[in-house]
């Protein structure tokens, strides 16, 4: 897009001053190159977000922002319930609480190398991935209720995981305020055979090598050393979240007039936080967050089982678990006053800095681990939250590389089999049920995640700690 549309506040901060119906400014964090490469739709969407009732400070777009639905993907916006603030089903998205969890393995690349193929096969056999894959867990009504209220804690009670996992998950593995009664029978039906499944699209399970350390002290606290092997899981709330998103989007579109909300784009469908519909959505959305946390917990358990078949006695502990499609009630300082705000992060990661009361003791000095997934075949990054991120964008950072090319273009340009062979030459093993799916996720269909992360670091949204390189990728 044209950079002359912005007032450049500093090297990475580009502001659009309020105009038309905008209630607050819109701010994009990017360098000149990333901004030029961004779709004009990001401008349109982030300025639309700035028109929503009760928005506080500014509508923000992260350095990986791209054309989304209503909100840009990489969009952050906070709403004050006392100022008529809204919650937007479109602002959270279909894949509620999609996120990344990273596990330590205690292995080094040298120890893994002779067993790479065997581990790839074991993981592919054990973790259901792709369209039409079903989990081995079938939820009855009681179990569904327990999962929707308990999240990862429920999964733990069922024998999936270890007690110490919980403190390494946002919300300690259980989102408060979930209301199973707000979750429709259809959403439940879509989920009953999907627990412990990865899904498809850009979701994956990846075995990664720590390739580079940027901050030795923080890396030490995060227990990351060069050549260590970690495993990252990227997935969300599966069919349950998708159905909740679908149903509330329609309901919010149809109710907008009733709440005197003018929608510049129907996809921005929202309802006042204090309205019955807004509360109903929050109850369902929080239940979906628990579903995602339980899902990643079960996949963690399956991963542990698979790894143990190759490396008996090994222990896989969590580094952290972050969600990047959420709306969460948080405390933030506005004009020197502490306010309770509902922060939407659509394709953006929470990045609480040092000292934040919600962090476990281990991360009190470093800030939380911020896990940034790359695309298949490219690097992922571990960052840490910063103090200044609070002022920059309500303690938020980017979530991934962001697509540079559509799926149609990608599948025209590349063949799945050729890509798999090419990546194999680089030492990266891909396992996937669909070669077309692989083509659509081609590494070059995404932006350069390194550039995105560099800007997040320079903008103070989060600080770089380590770079991870893929070794094995199980694609949905």
């Amino acid at each position: 897009m044209d950079t002359s549309q912005f007032i450049q506040q500093d090297e990475t901060c580009w502001e659009i001053q309020p105009k038309g119906n905008m209630r607050v400014p819109a701010i994009i964090y990017a360098d000149a190159q990333l901004l030029q490469d961004m779709d004009q739709k990001v401008y349109e969407q982030i300025t639309n977000v700035a028109t929503l009732p009760g928005i506080v400070e500014a509508a923000y777009a992260m350095p990986d922002a791209h054309w989304g639905y209503g909100f840009p993907i990489g969009g952050v916006a906070a709403f004050d319930p006392d100022q008529g603030g809204v919650v937007s089903a479109g602002g959270v998205g279909f894949d509620i609480s999609c996120g990344v969890r990273t596990l330590h393995t205690g292995l080094t690349i040298d120890q893994l190398q002779p067993h790479k193929q065997a581990l790839a096969d074991a993981l592919y056999r054990t973790v259901p991935a792709g369209v039409g894959s079903k989990g081995h867990i079938h939820l009855n009504h009681k179990a569904m209720h327990g999962m929707l209220t308990g999240g990862a804690q429920w999964a733990l009670d069922q024998g999936y995981g270890e007690q110490q996992d919980l403190e390494r998950i946002e919300e300690h593995g259980c989102m408060a305020g979930a209301e199973p009664r707000c979750v429709s029978p259809r959403a439940r039906e879509r989920q009953k055979d999907e627990m412990g499944t990865l899904g498809s699209g850009n979701h994956y399970l990846e075995v990664q090598r720590v390739a580079e350390i940027f901050d030795r002290n923080v890396a030490k606290t995060f227990a990351l050393r060069v050549d260590d092997i970690v495993i990252s899981i990227h997935c969300g709330s599966r069919g349950l979240g998708h159905q909740i998103g679908t149903e509330f989007l329609k309901e919010m579109v149809m109710s907008a007039a009733q709440y005197q909300i003018v929608l510049p784009d129907r996809e921005l469908a929202c309802a006042p936080l204090n309205s019955p519909l807004g509360k109903h959505y929050l109850g369902a959305m929080r239940a979906a967050i628990n579903c995602a946390l339980a899902n990643r917990q079960i996949i963690t358990h399956l991963t542990r089982q698979a790894v143990a078949t190759i490396f008996p006695g090994i222990h896989l502990g969590l580094l952290y678990d972050v969600s990047h499609n959420t709306c969460k009630l948080e405390q933030h300082m506005i004009d020197g006053q502490r306010k309770s705000l509902f922060v939407h992060r659509k394709g953006a990661t929470r990045a609480f800095g040092p000292g934040h009361p919600d962090l476990p003791p281990l991360f009190k000095e470093t800030g939380q681990p911020v896990l940034i997934g790359g695309s298949m075949g490219t690097s992922s990054y571990v960052l840490c939250g910063t103090q200044e991120s609070e002022q920059r964008a309500f303690s938020s950072a980017c979530h991934g590389a962001g697509r540079a090319m559509s799926r149609t273009q990608a599948s025209k340009q590349w063949q799945g089999r050729t890509l798999v062979d090419k990546l194999a030459e680089q030492g990266i093993i891909i396992r996937s049920p669909s070669m077309r799916g692989v083509a659509e996720e081609a590494p070059l269909a995404y932006k350069d995640v390194g550039a995105v992360v560099d800007v997040a670091d320079r903008a103070g949204l989060a600080r770089k700690v380590a770079r991870l390189e893929p070794v094995i990728c199980i694609k949905g």
């Binding site: 639905y69 894959s133 899904g199 699209g201």
Partner: protein, 144 residues
Amino acid sequence: MNSKPTTAHWEHFEHQADIGIRGIAPTLEQAFEQAAIAMTAVVTDPDLVLDSTAVAITCAAPDTELLFVSWINELVYEMSVHGLLFKRYQVFINNGTLSATAFGVAVDRKKHQPAVEIKGATFTELRVYQQADNMWVAQCVIDV
């Protein structure tokens, strides 16, 4: 000379993160049917899909665009819950109510090599309208 096809057909269109589906046909009902074939084509080659199973679908909405999103979302639900892929459809629309039959088959992961799972139909690029040549167009972006 107009080179545009005048019979019912479907196509995909670009969206940076996902993909757009579009049905173009002489009637509104056929445009809905064609767009639904475009949706199947996002997952697999529709020619690989058999039509041995019939599923009845009904939905209603206050306008044709919302009705289109509801139609696609009904199909997404059936595909997800019953593990189906659809080859063809018969759609009837009367006074804002859609009743249809979708013909398909259970997903065969080896044969169909499904590329992606569809999460839902969005309101992005959602349009249902009649072109100057009287052909109906029904389209939206779907989240995958």
